[in-house]
């Protein structure tokens, strides 16, 4: 069974090749079957492997499959090989499972698009690359997937290429993540020079043997890897690309910019957790980055008008939670949140996509409203997703995962009250913006006429994901309610166990949960009051000068774009334009001009008069003679 592992990335890749090469010759109806089918089969294989993994785990709880020797030069060997353990298996399942549902959804969503086949080709390529990312045994292969998903992200954000704004967003996304990637690449060089290998498991082993905790190399390596993770996952300070990435079609946002690609940074940190363990200061920075991001993005989500941008900021914020988990050493908790987030965020995006299509590509929430009656399936699934996002207790998967993170942030050795408080405040804000979104979209009066209603092909994935987001959390139930740590237990073979709580905190867990739930409910009620029951409250707040300024600042995502434009982009553009004609050329052309000047000076002596030549000849003779005679 495990030998079929190679099929998991190979199937979507084959789908990509078929669609890319023959896409315009195949009948239009074939495209979704190839596109979704390849991912579906890939998902099937993943599930079979997962079943096998549960029932008969491979030796050492991991399995690796060498496909061929990729690079082998003296001093550096790199296999093209896949590595499967609990972590990559979970990622695999998420990518193929959620990916399949999104493919099915897009079969209807994109049906009117002229580049139907191209869309599925890109999506398949993305899934293949993402699978390489999570299955790669060494860092180079991981990097291959890493850049591959970046490419697909670029292609899909700019999918509707005729609008230059989409292209700009795509370029921004690629370049911003590329900055992070470059840090990561330097990190790889550093790791290779220090450890002599880029095989991840081998590397981790050698690192833990060779490096002392807190050693400079470890911190440097961890920081460089963090740079890559931050770029890909849209964390501070490289989060600016993600809201703009919403320019792509909604399934793309669901798959790439919510469920899978943006969580690659979390996966990367979990994969290389040994290095972070060896560099406590870097790991603390991970937690701080996560905490800061979740708060900033949460507040920014409050002021957005575009429904997809709200979701984008909420994604940044939720990934902030995952980073927080990574930072406090609760790797399994972070991955757990990754999984549940993949469910409910994909659900939210797809549901919002249904709304957008229904309203004829209207994304402004201020022009929505009252859709509860018109689009019941969408409404209920969106509500379920929202409950998960806001982590309403018991009935939502988000509650279980976020709660685990908050508890770890509070109780683990690396955690602290401040980090917990950041997460707690984030939960409160999440409650507000989530239900602001729900209320503005589905309640109140109808502002835009419903254009088309989603068909079953779009609704089915919504329903399935709604079920997942409701019950997915039951994989891990906190001890305060009923001790059932299935997920963390499963992850133990790949990731170290969750940090042991401090003694005497047994009762704190329940208390904290109650506080968090109260905060969320407060947020919810504020949203209901301010945007639903008495909208004038919100309006009044915004009408004050401070409120207006605050709203503008939050709307612009805290002004990072403006800042980067001023300190990076404009100077770069100015330098480039200033030196467009290459100042070095001046030097060479200067030499040319100089010799041309000397030439024209000398050519003045060429009068064309034969007598002048005779005279100069005799002067020359005279001089020669004089030199011989007189000297």
């Amino acid at each position: 069974m495990y030998e079929l592992l190679w099929l998991v990335p190979a199937l979507p890749c084959a789908g990509f090749l078929i669609l890319a090469l023959f896409g315009d010759r195949l009948p239009r109806r074939a495209a979704p079957f190839i596109g979704a089918g390849s991912v579906g089969f890939s998902a099937l294989v993943s599930f079979l492997i997962a079943y096998r993994f549960f029932t008969a785990p491979p030796e050492g709880e991991h399995f690796s499959q060498v496909l061929w020797t990729w690079m082998n030069v003296e001093g550096f060997t790199c296999q093209f090989s896949l590595y499967l353990d609990a972590l990559s298996l979970v990622m695999c399942l998420v990518v193929t499972g959620v990916g399949f549902l999104i493919h099915v959804y897009s079969a209807e969503y994109m049906i009117d698009d002229e580049s139907y086949a191209k869309f599925f080709a890109y999506m398949n390529l993305f899934v293949a690359a993402m699978l390489m990312l999570v299955l790669g045994e060494n860092m180079v292969l991981l990097y291959l997937g890493w850049e591959g998903v970046g490419l697909c992200s670029f292609l899909l954000i700019g999918f509707w290429y005729k609008n230059p704004a989409n292209g700009r967003a795509a370029m921004k996304a690629f370049l911003t993540t590329r900055i992070g990637d470059t840090f990561m690449a330097i990190g790889l060089f550093l790791l290779f020079v220090q450890l002599g290998t880029l095989d991840i498991q081998e590397m981790m082993q050698r690192a833990s043997q060779q490096w002392a905790v807190g050693s400079g190399v470890a911190v440097a390596a961890a920081l460089l890897i963090l740079g890559g993770a931050v770029g890909k996952s849209g964390q501070l300070p490289l989060q600016v690309w993600l809201p703009d990435a919403m320019a792509g079609p909604t399934p793309v946002s669901a798959l790439i910019h919510a469920a899978t690609m943006v969580t690659a940074g979390v996966y990367l940190i979990a994969r290389t957790h040994v290095i972070f363990e060896l560099a406590p200061s870097a790991q603390f920075l991970v937690a701080v980055v996560g905490a800061a991001t979740l708060l900033l993005a949460g507040f920014a989500a409050l002021a957005q008008r575009d429904i997809k941008r709200v979701l984008a900021y909420s994604t940044i914020s939720q990934i902030g939670y995952m980073f927080l988990a990574m930072g406090v050493g609760a790797y399994a908790a972070g991955i757990f949140h990754l999984v549940t987030h993949a469910f409910f965020k994909a659900l939210l995006f797809m549901a919002s996509g249904a709304v957008i299509v229904a309203l004829h590509h209207e994304q402004d929430m201020f022009k929505m409203g009252g859709l509860r009656k018109k689009l019941p399936v969408v409404f209920w699934t969106f509500l379920i997703g929202s409950m998960s996002l806001a982590s309403l207790p018991i009935i939502s998967s988000g509650f279980y995962s976020k709660d685990l993170i908050l508890w770890s942030a509070f109780a683990s050795e690396k955690g602290s009250k401040a980090l917990w408080f950041a997460g707690f405040a984030g939960a409160f804000v999440t409650g507000i913006y989530t239900f602001r979104m729900v209320i503005m979209t589905f309640f109140g009066e109808e502002k835009t006429h419903v254009h088309v209603k989603p068909g079953w092909v779009m609704c089915l994935p919504l329903v399935i994901l709604a079920i997942c987001s409701t019950f997915g959390g039951l994989m891990e139930i906190p001890s305060s309610i009923y001790h059932f740590p299935l997920f963390t237990h499963f992850m133990e073979s790949a990731l170290p166990a969750a940090p042991i709580p401090h003694e005497g905190l047994e009762h704190a867990e329940l208390m904290l949960q109650v506080i968090a739930v109260i905060a969320v409910l407060c947020g919810l009620s504020i949203a209901v009051v301010a945007f639903g029951v008495k909208p004038q409250i919100a309006r009044a707040v915004v009408a004050t000068p401070f409120g207006a300024k605050m709203r503008d600042l939050l709307f612009a995502g805290w002004g990072f774009d403006w800042l980067y434009d001023k300190i990076l982009i404009q100077p770069f553009l100015r330098t480039a334009r200033f030196n467009k004609d290459d100042f070095v050329d001046l030097i060479w052309n200067g030499i040319a001009a100089l010799s041309r000047g000397v030439h024209s000076l000398l050519s003045e002596t060429e009068t064309g008069h034969v007598r002048w030549y005779a005279a100069t000849l005799s002067v020359g003779a005279l001089l020669a003679l004089a030199i011989v005679v007189l000297l």
């Binding site: 850049e147 591959g148 005729k162 470059t182 330097i186 060089f189 030196n579 467009k580």
Partner: protein, 510 residues
């Protein structure tokens, strides 16, 4: 004998093409295509010859060589020799020869015979450079590839061709003369020391030179190769020459001519003057890094699409320079890989620009936009090569850049970290091409037919080659490895010799 044939075939094909070109241009094209194909077949057969490769890998001197006295009185011989490195470069040459004949199929309409004559003779000169193991012969080939290139630019070039051609000629000729001086100095110093006056590479290896002399002679060689490479700040001929040359000329320039510089650095500069090269490394690496960054920034600033691609070459070849002077196996393999992949990738980009220019009669990027809509195949292909240019994993360029940086990080971490910035800047200009030309709203209403079958075939062959190299680069490494290992050993031995002689020298003094 085979080696002489390899050089002779394009020479002859050129003459035939010239002779029949006036009456029958089509036949001239076919003759040249056939000549390159025959060369390619011969070379691939050689490559496939497992026994010879194994013998070479086991420590044989050359895969194959011809050594006939030419002017014995002066120690000049007709010495051609082949090792893995040359073999790869030759295969690249033959392949790009086919591509460049193919891409000028419809572009060149005037004096077709003479055009192909020049094309073939440049190619022969380049192949000769990759094969010559006698410095005098090497210099002859070095000049041989220069003159037809000059004609290619000056006769079939674009608006500003004379300026560009003269600039190209002066830069390369002047630096070539510096190399000639260096060759002669080496010749005389070696002859003076040992009594045998010879230009033969094998014999000149390990010449004991005073550190001052070695430095200056090394700089003479370096000047010629750096100009060809081109390294900052002697890169200025390149944008002009590339921009003004006809498409096939640009392909040959970018794909092959630049590689002769890199090849020269690997073959001559470091092995002949190891110690001087080591002393020079910081400077060379700095130049490389400046070239990478500077080329990328300038590339982005250009409005002439061809110039944009040309500056990207400066950036890419900076990686080669970096790799060569890092001088460890990983970086060297990366540099070889970069030479090949840059040849294919940038050649393709030039063909792309040529195709666009043929269709809409401008290279100005501001007059382009939204081409994807009417020419999706062209767009997809351009996208691929833009991705190759920014070093996307899965394409050969990634392997190259990654290995170069990985290797040079061992040699100099700071420089490499700065050079890595080139990855970001590289993506800026690469994406800019796609963004500006193919995305966005339709700017130019001129008719823009999509690629036809001939063009698709050419680009497809390049794409297959690049993707193949991206996933299965091992054959390249395997072929280059023994050659590189030998070069490294030579350098180490030479360095040792210098140290020993210097030690003796100082010992004698004390």
């Amino acid at each position: 004998m085979m080696l002489i044939c390899i050089v002779l075939i394009p020479l002859l094909a050129g003459v035939i093409a010239w002779a029949i070109g006036r009456q029958n241009p089509g036949a001239a094209r076919w003759v040249c295509l056939l000549a390159c194909a025959i060369d390619l077949v011969i070379l691939l057969t050689l490559w496939n010859n497992q026994a010879a490769m194994a013998a070479f890998a086991a420590g044989g001197p050359w895969l194959m060589q011809v050594n006939v006295p030419w002017v014995p009185a002066l120690g000049i011989s007709f010495h051609l020799a082949l090792d893995g490195l040359s073999l790869l470069m030759l295969i690249l040459s033959a392949f790009l020869g086919i591509v460049s004949v193919g891409c000028s199929w419809t572009e060149i309409k005037e004096r077709v015979g003479f055009f192909h004559f020049n094309l073939m003779w440049v190619l022969a000169g380049i192949m000769g450079v990759f094969l010559a193991m006698d410095l005098f012969l090497f210099y002859c080939f070095w000049e041989l590839m220069l003159v037809p290139m000059y004609f290619l630019i000056v006769i079939w070039g674009h608006e500003n061709r004379i300026y560009a051609a003269v600039k190209f000629f002066i830069f390369t000729q002047f630096s070539g003369l510096l190399m000639l001086l260096a060759i002669l100095a080496l010749y005389f110093l070696h002859g003076h020391a040992t009594g045998t006056y010879t230009f033969d590479y094998d014999l000149l290896l390990g010449t004991k030179l005073g550190s001052g002399a070695a430095k200056w002679i090394m700089l003479g060689f370096f000047a010629a190769f750096a100009v060809k490479l081109p390294a900052f700040p002697v890169h200025n001929w390149l944008p002009d020459a590339h921009t003004e040359a006809p498409t096939a000329g640009s392909v040959i320039l970018a794909g092959l001519l630049l590689k002769t510089g890199a090849y020269g650095l690997m073959r001559f500069v470091v092995p002949l003057f190891p110690q001087a090269a080591i002393d020079f490394t910081p400077v060379a690496m700095t130049l490389a890094v400046i070239g990478i960054i500077y080329g990328a920034v300038l590339s982005f600033a250009q409005t002439d699409l061809k110039r944009l691609v040309a500056y990207s070459s400066v950036s890419h070849m900076g990686f080669v320079l970096l790799g060569v002077f890092a001088w460890n196996r990983i970086a060297l393999q990366g540099a070889v890989m970069q030479m090949i992949c840059h040849g294919l990738g940038t050649g393709a980009l030039f063909m792309m620009v040529g195709a666009i220019q043929e269709r809409i009669h401008t290279r100005n990027i501001e007059k382009m936009g939204g081409f994807w809509e009417v020419a999706p195949r062209m767009g997809a292909i351009a996208m691929f090569f833009a991705m190759a240019s920014l070093g996307l994993p899965g394409i050969g360029n990634f392997i190259a850049e990654f290995l170069v940086l990985l290797g040079s990080y061992q040699a100099n971490a700071t420089m490499t970290s700065i050079a890595s910035l080139g990855l970001v800047l590289g993506s800026i200009y690469s994406l800019w091409i796609v963004q500006r030309v193919f995305h966005g709203a339709r700017e130019n209403q001129a008719k823009l037919p999509d690629f036809a079958r001939r063009e698709i075939a050419l680009f497809a062959s390049l794409i297959i080659a690049l993707v193949g190299l991206g996933f299965f680069p091992q054959p390249i490494f395997k072929t280059a490895d023994p050659a590189l290992s030998k070069l490294q050993q030579l350098a180490v031995a030479g360095q040792g010799a210098v140290q020993v002689s210097e030690a003796k020298h100082s010992g004698g003094n004390s």
